[in-house]
Amino acid sequence: MNLATGVQVVSFGILAVMMIGAALGVVLLSNIVYSAFLLGGVFVSIAGMYLLLNADFVAAAQVLIYVGAVNVLILFAIMLVNKRQDFIPLPRAWVRQVLTAVVSLGLFILLSTMVLATPWSFSTGPAAGDNSIVLIGQHFFSDFLLPFELASILLLIAMVGAIILARREFLPEQTLATELEQPVLTLPERPRQLVSVASDRNSSLDKVERQK
């Protein structure tokens, strides 16, 4: 074993331990913020695995998208919900946990048997190496052109949909009433019908706005 393979084996071991440990932490910890940060750890370890496999573009994309976007989004969602409520353990919660563990273990055994038993067919082409970005670009503009272009429609409509779900409704018939009450700097929109706790916070926000 020369130095290069030695480094590879050692870093594979470190990455694997990191990944499995962090993944177990995501599932087993009860504090959801810890779980979210550990999920970021899992994603980073997977990016390391990709680096070991010479897929540097995929590794960079993994870090940018999963750690930079998905994980941050999860953290934002947790912070926005911000529900401080003690978790009351269900009676007989262990039954569910045992069942989940059995199912997951069974699936793991099935899939690992499959990985070992199946005669996988390996690609005979040369490894892309440093050239991978050029190759990916060539594929995007030749045989993957149609899915690449369709993905732009998909992203457009996802963006439109996200705006529709997040925006306030424009209801012109309500504007007169609100203008009489609050003449200063109100948008012609009806605020969302919030639950009682949140509406208190909303009104305090309005006060802050008026002070400005």
Partner: protein, 510 residues
Amino acid sequence: MDFANLAAQLNAGTILPEGIVITTLMVVLVGDLIVGRSASRWLPYAAIAGLLSATAALYFQWDNVSPISFLGAFNSDDLSIVFRGIIALSAAVTILMSIRYVEQSGTALAEFIAILLSATLGGMFLSGANELVMIFISLETLSISSYLLTGYTKRDPRSNEAALKYLLIGASSTAVFLYGVSLLYGLSGGKTQLDAIAAGIANNSAGQSLGLVIALVFAIAGIAFKISAAPFHQWTPDVYEGSPTPVVAFLSVGSKAAGFALAIRLLTTAFPLVTEEWRFVFTALAVLSMVLGNVVALAQSSMKRMLAYSSIAQAGFIMIGLIAGTDAGYASMVFYLLVYLFMNLGGFICVILFSLRTGTDQISEYSGLYQKDPLLTLCLSICLLSLGGIPPLAGFFGKIYLFWAGWQAEQYGLVLLGLITTVISIYYYIRVVRMMVVKEPQEMSAAVKNYPEISWNLPGMRPLQVGLVLTLVATSLAGILSNPLFTLANNSIVRTPMLQPAVVSREVGQ
């Protein structure tokens, strides 16, 4: 590879219908931005015109000599043309019925149509997708647009619940599908085109390996979610009950047709080595769907939930054609889907009209409707009887053809079960008809007693009337004059090269 050479190889003319749909989508989005809210007067009609011209473009592509385009990513053979036509037509009828409904629910119409058009686009691309990446992206375009449509009336908590359930179950089923598809990539040595995958697996002699079986099961799980077959149907009743009714109509016809197109193409092209296995799995799905869908539908009190279970059962009937695996089997699937398009959408138009006028969709509220609104009663009765398979109507011939194809392919048990469950289904369809027609005036429900004056002049009612009459005529005439539809369905199968080797190998095997 210079540009002119590449452009010639792409053969981009085959996606002209999809191009028209994309242009319409852009016109709807940008037109709404520029003109403002008053654009909702003409936008729906522009969208319908776009969808109809896409259908016309599909007609001119019939019998295309070189269907493979985009270097193998898209296959525009006759089978895909029929399915793309079904999806485009179902979207057009859905827009007809949604104009009044969306205005009444106080949401914006232009965005609704834009999302519906992108769902149509995803379904149309899915029907012709010939490569794994293309399949996945178009499946996602269809699914994400469907999630958005389901949650479109965001002030309604039932709609929110439906969207959340659909999103969570849909995302996990997509993940399972993606895992199965990635196994195919590994088994075939890095191929993504469906025929290359089959060849690669055969070369590698991995035909009976565990990996291929697991890939098959995972792929079927993804497909069965889309067509809402029985063990993967749990989302259907809740989503159908909660989401806006036009969306349900599209999900039950357009989305389901796209799922069946995917099933035919993926299973016959990529899994020819495990044909017996996928037939077996689909037989189990069909049995469960027919029994569960029809039996549970008996106990429903809400019209939309009943139609949800009925659509699960109809998916079970259609699967008989897939299991038969002969020319007649596939042709009967196409024929039944064509007929199902009109009768199911007609049923939903009636449900929308009734709920717009009375604000309810409980089955018991329909009693005595005949006295107040004969046209609605007639259309709903015809559509429901056709769904049940009563003789002179279109649904009867569709079912006969399906069962005949199944019987020819020696699926005796399945066909008998189909007959028995059809009888059960007739019971719950007739129950609604009896409720509307037979009741005495004093047994009229409160909703019908307060039935408003019928006026078709209100904004958005005219398209609803057009859709109502159109589906009524199509459902009643497609039974008697079904020969053109038969010819269309048969030609689409016979002239599809992809299906011919599968049929031949089946006949040799017997």
